[in-house]
Symmetry: C3
Subunit: 409 residues, 3 copies
């Protein structure tokens, strides 16, 4: 009774009549993709890594340098940040020159940091000050140096120079922080304002930096997609122009206000990693009040240190967007998908984007200018020259910007 191909009653059902979706271009035939490593890699010896190493970068808040050694990751290198009891900041290679134990387990003393294993002590400049297990505390200890990098403090941050010593420039002064109005003071923040997500963002820093000269995404990503993350005036259709500057790229957006006046918004990026972005909430019309310093931690992670002129403590940090009343870290995976922001858009390009697959359009002119500018600077450095914006004389330390939200006419 039960043999193959035998059925009491047959009720045929027909295949679904819906025709196949037939793509215009099969993914089977797409070429092997590639990334522009020159833009993405930040390690020692890479074109971008060598360019970035010709500038000072923030490696922590001033308060991060203290009696407890702190591990920081900068341009693909791990380093130990501390402040001696005498107040000198040190930024040293983490592996003790003696036997390689990490100085993260070291004890900070009045004049340096002492390794936990055999007690070798190094001053903030790396000089070996003591070898307690050696006769007379080490007769040749003066020949031992823990490698490190020069640091300076300014604007509430610790700055490090990680490039060739003979090329060390002066630490810049940034004009927006130098000429304060009454009641204003300088505040520093380390929570990656502008990154749109967690403090440490897990993608290449350059795809974040490109976002700064990409004003059009504001209308889509922060407008129609996530429901006006910014103020209404920002979502009015602008006229946008892109221009190269001596130190990067400038984006000018002109909007007509309800009263007929012109709202001129200028955003800049400045070499090496500066986000010079006026407040997108446009609380008032003025020159740019803060600068974000993107820190490439390694090829696929970055964080942002921000310095700003404020009138109230915590003013910078308060300035974070919410979705459905929730901060980014509180959103569910579904809500991240539903309300994407800068983090999702940029990390959504991959840890390192595949440049070969891009189709840049007229609205991407800022990105094209920026890549061209940085390529020129990499070539300059590779050829033995000094890149844009580095100064070797204290008199030339001031850096100026045009960025701001301005009301005209």
């Amino acid at each position: 009774m039960n043999s193959p191909h035998e059925h009491a009653r047959i009720i045929p059902i027909h295949a679904d009549p819906r025709p196949a979706t037939q793509p215009v271009r099969s993914a089977y035939e797409r070429p092997a993709p590639s990334s522009r490593d020159d833009l993405a890699r930040v390690g020692r010896g890479t074109p971008m890594g060598e360019l970035l190493r010709r500038y000072w970068h923030p490696v922590g808040l001033a308060a991060d340098a203290g009696a407890i050694p702190r591990l920081v990751t900068v341009l693909g290198e791990e380093l130990i940040l501390f402040r001696s009891g005498q107040g000198e900041v040190g930024l040293l290679y983490p592996r003790c020159a003696h036997r390689g134990t990490s100085l993260i387990y070291g004890k900070v003393e009045d004049d340096g940091i002492r390794c936990c294993y055999h007690g070798w002590k190094f001053g903030p400049a790396g000089q070996c000050l003591d070898q307690p297990c050696e006769p007379e505390g080490g007769k040749v200890r003066h020949k031992i140096f823990q490698p490190g990098y020069p640091v300076q403090e300014r604007y509430g941050l610790i700055w490090a120079y990680m490039g060739p010593p003979r090329k060390q420039p002066v630490l810049p002064l940034y004009e927006p922080f130098e000429n304060l109005l009454a009641g204003e003071f300088i505040e520093a923040d380390d929570t990656s304002i502008g990154g749109g997500g967690p403090v440490v963002v897990d993608c290449n820093w350059f795809q974040h930096w490109e976002n700064v000269v990409d004003p059009w995404h504001v209308l889509v990503l922060h407008g129609t997609f996530s429901g006006a993350q910014f103020t209404d005036v920002m979502l009015r259709a602008p006229t946008i122009t892109f221009e190269a500057t001596p130190i990067g790229v400038k984006v000018t957006s002109l909007r007509t206000l309800e009263d007929g006046a012109t709202f001129r918004r200028i955003t800049e990026v400045g070499i090496p990693t500066l986000r010079v972005v006026p407040n997108p909430q446009v609380g008032k019309f003025e020159r740019v009040e803060s600068i974000g310093f993107v820190l490439p931690m390694d090829d696929t992670h970055f964080r942002i240190y921000t310095v700003g002129r404020v009138r109230e403590k915590g003013e910078l940090t308060a300035f974070r967007s919410r979705q459905k009343g929730k901060r980014w870290a509180e959103l569910t995976p579904g809500e991240h998908r539903e309300f994407p922001g800068d983090y999702e858009a940029q990390v959504g390009q991959g840890a390192i984007t595949l440049h070969s697959e891009e189709h840049l359009a007229t609205s991407d002119k800022g990105i094209a200018l920026l890549r061209r500018f940085m390529k020129q600077q990499m070539d300059l450095v590779a050829g033995g020259g000094d890149p844009a914006g580095v100064s070797f004389a204290p008199a030339d330390a001031m850096v100026r910007f045009e960025a701001g939200n301005f009301r005209e006419g």
Copy 2:
């Protein structure tokens, strides 16, 4: 008083008299092992990957294609599955053709999916429909295509063809689902029935597929080891024969029932990845009622979509084995060790087994036949031919099987 080698009183204890266990063959001398990459790799450009790409594969339940974009992993490729408001299903390369942001953050609209970053919109076939940040919505947008793959719906599943476009076959009709008895209907399941463990199984798909033509393991793994996972009749000693078929391998097990009748059980595998396995619970004697479509997600992960003729909703899914009243996911590591099933046996071979170390025996004839068959098919495709079972004419779309549990005499 306490110097070396001086002891007041000596109590010798003797070494354990038990002799060493002395292996017949030292593991020190075993040769370096190797895997048969041709059987295991499924990526584009590999022999098996190119063979598998000549067939349609299920990439989701029909309901998985909806207004929320869904990331699927198929043959080592990540793809975005969605259904436009107009009901058309799209399966697109995930990186937006513009700047590479994942379409997982896209918004599904009436006629396509829109990238969150700059709003480029693509139809289900990948045609670019809008570039909102470009003048006039993109004057050359018609030249932009998001790569993708053709899809069709049938039997409650979305099927994709990921091979060379000019070799696209017709989507098969499977005879077991075409001629239904009264009261029967088709149900689809995505929980990897037959995998013996979690939905996504973390080993190479082929070592799972080989298991289907390996009836002997039922007596050991599902019999003496885990305490009769299947019905008693399945644990009676069978007479087993293995045969090649035009589309794979067939296993026939003959058992004598208590009343003297013969229980003929035919199990098949069919190219590309079909498990054509009659119900091992043997509830009734009939032609095979379901087919499992093994989906190689990548070289070391697979899942199984199952389609079956049923009389009650949920009939397919209800059909999962338990140990000590617990489902697989509820067992402790110790219980997994104590009650191994298909998951443990196959994942226990490693993510990709080491073929060089195997010792196939007479009971493994099905596996030998299957490897030979698939090698022939890979060679056929590599030589420019069309593999077994693909049809290019709708009239040839029907695929038939002999599989079933049959009572004879």
Copy 3:
């Protein structure tokens, strides 16, 4: 009113006057580092791996070999340890000779272990005893062998020999465990006493072993850093001498006690991996009471088996240090940083230390001697010879040490 560079009132603030910390040696100019792979790698075919394979190593407590198969990792190899119902211990390659399923899912029977998949059974020596799915239980099963290694039991441990069979030495007898005083008995421990942290330590075994001939770290790491982890007498300034021995390196520390007597402490390392360390708590003066057998699990993980003469059950295990009343696993990351011990110091050197960056000093003479000794032994083995301390005659099985805490004069 609000245009760039226009400010009602200017309050200049000056850059922080603190000068830059200017390192003596820039980390930018440090050379590319390297490790001594010969010291670190333990796999088959590496110099150290081949040297270590000429000795017996502990692979578990005697109780670890039982009716439940146990996965052990030794010298980079995974193996299955079990004890048949008849009491024979087996240590077999984990992948079943049939189809490669792990024997961790096997069932231990009276005379061997049976694979879960198709039931092949192997005796403790690897001989194939049954192939239940084959006719007559496998007519040629006697030609199949599961590879394995010889094992013996002694001192509460299972010992394995993983080298070339024709070079198998006798299992050593260790003198400290052979001549017991009244009331003494042998205890074995598997909790990595001396490792200073978790049972499995995640760094190369050799950087741990070097620590044993590095008495100076005791004064710093266990003294000033973590607040006298050991007894006061150990923190008195010693006179230390280092000497090569026929089987390793010996460290002698002389300290003058309060009553004018001399406290002579001798610590040894013995090939292949022995820590012959007298009790650092110095409860009494006597020859060494325990030996630690460091087991290199792979290149970057080790554990320690310890055997000791004791008078009370659990005496060995009780002997663990605490910080702030907490065991190592209970400390917070901050407390680990604040109270580093052997684990932090050694794992803090990295998974494999960078030997090229070291600066060994006079206090590191023990380490220099140990590296030289092991290099000689590796060269000996590579040249076809037999390394130090292996014996092929039972009469030569006894290994003696000078180690102990002794009071003199």
